[in-house]
Amino acid sequence: MKKIRVIISLVFFLSIIILYLDLSFSLQQEYSVYPLFLQFIPSFLKFISIGTIAGIGFIIVMLLTFLFGRAYCSSICPLGTFQDIATYLRMKKKRIKFLYREEHKKTRYGFLAAAVILFIFGISFGLNILDPYSNFGRIISNLLRPATIGINNSIAFALESINIYSIYPLEFKGINIAGFIFSFLFLGLILWMSIKHGRLYCNSVCPVGTLLGFISKYSLFTIKISDINCSGCGACGKVCKSSCIDTEDEIIDYSRCVLCFNCFTVCPSSGLEYKFRYSRDMKTVIEPVNINKRNFLIQSAVWFTGGSLALKAQEKILVYKENKIPETREYAVSPPGSLSIENFTDHCTACHLCVAACPTQVLQPSFLEYGLLGILQPRMDYIKSFCNYDCTACTDVCPSGAILPQNGETKKLIQLGKASFIKDNCIVYSQGTDCGACAEHCPTKAVRMVLDPQVNKNAPLIDEEICVGCGACEFACPTIPYKAIYVKSNPVHLAAKLPKQEALEQPDPEEEFPF
């Protein structure tokens, strides 16, 4: 049983890592759906967002849990596997004993209730911060991917010195501070928890773990301690990462058992069985109902929610810069296919797969641009890069429905924002020389260079109707420290018109050279 669990978990774990680390950008768009379909929170949000079978992964997980117990936590969830690996390596170095501990009931249901209540109020912050898949994604995207790029680039530079250019260095737009710090702290926390206390995160913090734990109390198949075969040696309890086997009373807390089957491998007497719950020789946890607990749940949820709502109230931020003419950015720009900032922030779990999949790296984890509660949800960063007109990578990989799938044609009709011009910052007016970098990069010619008779130079002219808000003009604009042209976000995406033009008259092929 353990072998099967280990194999399945490694398949999910490694395929997700490969998706995030794919430096060639060739796998993500096509294959991301397979390992991500069953990731609970993204799937749940996708279901709410689009309501089709593409989002029923979480229902399948719940059914699986009802049938078999929390198999999700030990085989599908990448963070679970990551913790198991950390624990395994630690055990190899020095064996530690996990002993039965009481359930942290208040904590775990408190976190779950808080996340759910926040979500009901339209704030997905709680889910994002706690979701195990997204936390794992953030660790890979913000820590391991930069490291991989670093290694790749060192190899590339070494080869380049002997004139081999087949491995090329990847452009790296710098470490994202918010993403790095959060992921780093979370990595420290999860390592400490898993090394010291096994599956403490899963059984006291993780909302998915708590919900599935609740279901798995009633699962049809469970691990049982056999009355006949068990010798009462207590070996199983010492290897249980979930600390859920009470060997004295011979009781297993199914809400915390993650079906790792480690106990099976150490039992000397076949004293453990995995079988149908309602066959006889059964011992279950008898659960006393505690009124105080319930009160605590309500209180903690109200507190958490209230605080978060207060934070949400101040989320509209203005970026003022101490410049002659600063850009006024009222809202962040959300990625194409996200429909609106509201839809995006409601459904995005900040797993950063789109960040890893974006070939131009214009998608960057946000800091406060969406407000405090939108922290780490990716935004379009036009200072760093711009959105490729023909690319749909982020829309293809998003597992949570925050970015809906687009094809090449529908994406070209989405207007993320509109180019906005600050005349006095522009080279043509401030220097009196030609520039045109903005118009050069514009894929639709929403920004054109048109003769301004006042300065007798070609100056940018914007046609908002055909602007898609890709940020190419803003990225290319060479003025410093602030831009002369930039994208003003549409908080709700609008439809852009396709550029229309007539074909040119073809020249006479017989015409002589004009010199």
Binding site: Y165, P169, P359, H441, K445, P478, Q506
Partner: protein
């Protein structure tokens, strides 16, 4: 260590290339009497054929590629690969032309032929969607990235008025022969982009050029590193909305090509082909005045080939 090495090498290469430019034609006349042209032209203009045919004819009338590429030399071919668009949009150099140039270089005995550009759109997409990566590799070239600053090394521009230094791609500094293969097209900032403007794709910080009088910087840079050969692709020409263009509707079929060792002359002739007078394109005028080359086409021996 490394940097010093290739500066040394590039100076050597520069001297060697200069010598070839000055005496190469004559040396070649004696060496290959059969392939030698009857006249020595400053510029060749070809019209009416496919890009590869026009190149074959054009380069032959300049004494063949052997005049420019010697056995065992390394060659860098610099097309325009700036944009993530397909070949029929003509925002990038024609891939068939690049393929033929690379082939000819190898036929002349080149040791290595490198192809790169510092692109504007995402470089991997530009390389593949332009068709140039495949075309160049098919001919045996090494297609090299140009998207990270580490490839670029600082060079002083002593004669520059506004541009005093630039970081230049190491392949330009290291290679024995530099072949510039721009595509003729309209340009929002520079009016029209040809050979000299194409050199913005071998430097790192283009923003500086845009901020500090684009035309002057283009001319300034041309005082520094002269390509050994300029081959202007005017087979498909983007007449408006350049340099990226919006659709195929921006493009006309001109089936032309201009080849010259004089970068200013090549640009002057191509500008005329485009419908612009060279003296009305500031960077051509500036470069002419700085004696980079001549825009006075009447002073040149031009071979006009109509197919």
């Amino acid at each position: 260590m490394r940097r010093r090495e290739f500066f040394k090498k590039s100076i050597q290469a520069g001297v060697a290339a200069g010598a070839y430019l000055k005496y190469g034609d004559k040396l070649n006349l004696f060496a290959n009497p059969k392939t030698a042209p009857e006249e020595i032209y400053d510029l060749v203009a070809v019209k009416g054929g496919e890009p590869e045919t026009m190149f074959d004819l054009g380069i032959n009338s300049l004494g063949g590629i052997k005049n420019f590429v010697k056995p065992n030399q390394t060659v860098v071919v610099k097309p325009n690969i700036g944009w993530d668009t397909s070949p029929e949009r003509a925002a990038n150099t024609n891939p068939k032309l690049v393929n033929r140039i690379v082939k000819q270089c190898f036929d002349a005995g080149a040791k290595d032929v490198y192809v790169f550009d510092h692109t504007c759109d995402n470089w991997t997409k530009c390389y593949s969607n332009s068709g140039i990566e495949k075309a160049a590799k098919d001919a045996g070239a090494k297609v090299v990235p140009g998207h990270t600053e580490s490839y670029y090394h600082k060079v002083d521009v002593k004669q520059g008025e506004r541009l005093k230094d630039a970081k230049v791609h190491e392949l330009i500094l290291e290679s024995d022969v530099f072949i510039n293969v721009p595509v003729l097209k309209s340009h929002g900032g520079a009016g029209v982009t040809i050979s000299m403007k194409n050199l913005m794709g071998i430097v790192w910080d283009r923003g500086f050029w845009h901020r500090n009088d684009l035309h002057q910087c283009i001319a300034d840079y041309a005082t520094l590193k002269q390509p050994d050969l300029n081959i202007v692709d005017a087979y498909l020409v983007m007449k408006r909305n350049g340099p990226r263009g919006v659709s195929k509707d921006d493009v006309v079929t001109m089936k032309s090509q201009i080849i010259s060792t004089d970068i200013v002359a090549a640009d002057a002739a191509a500008a005329k082909l485009f419908g612009r007078e060279p003296e009305n394109v500031d960077y051509i005028k500036y470069a002419h005045n700085m004696n980079v080359g001549t825009m006075d086409l009447s002073s040149l021996k031009i071979n006009r080939i109509m197919l």
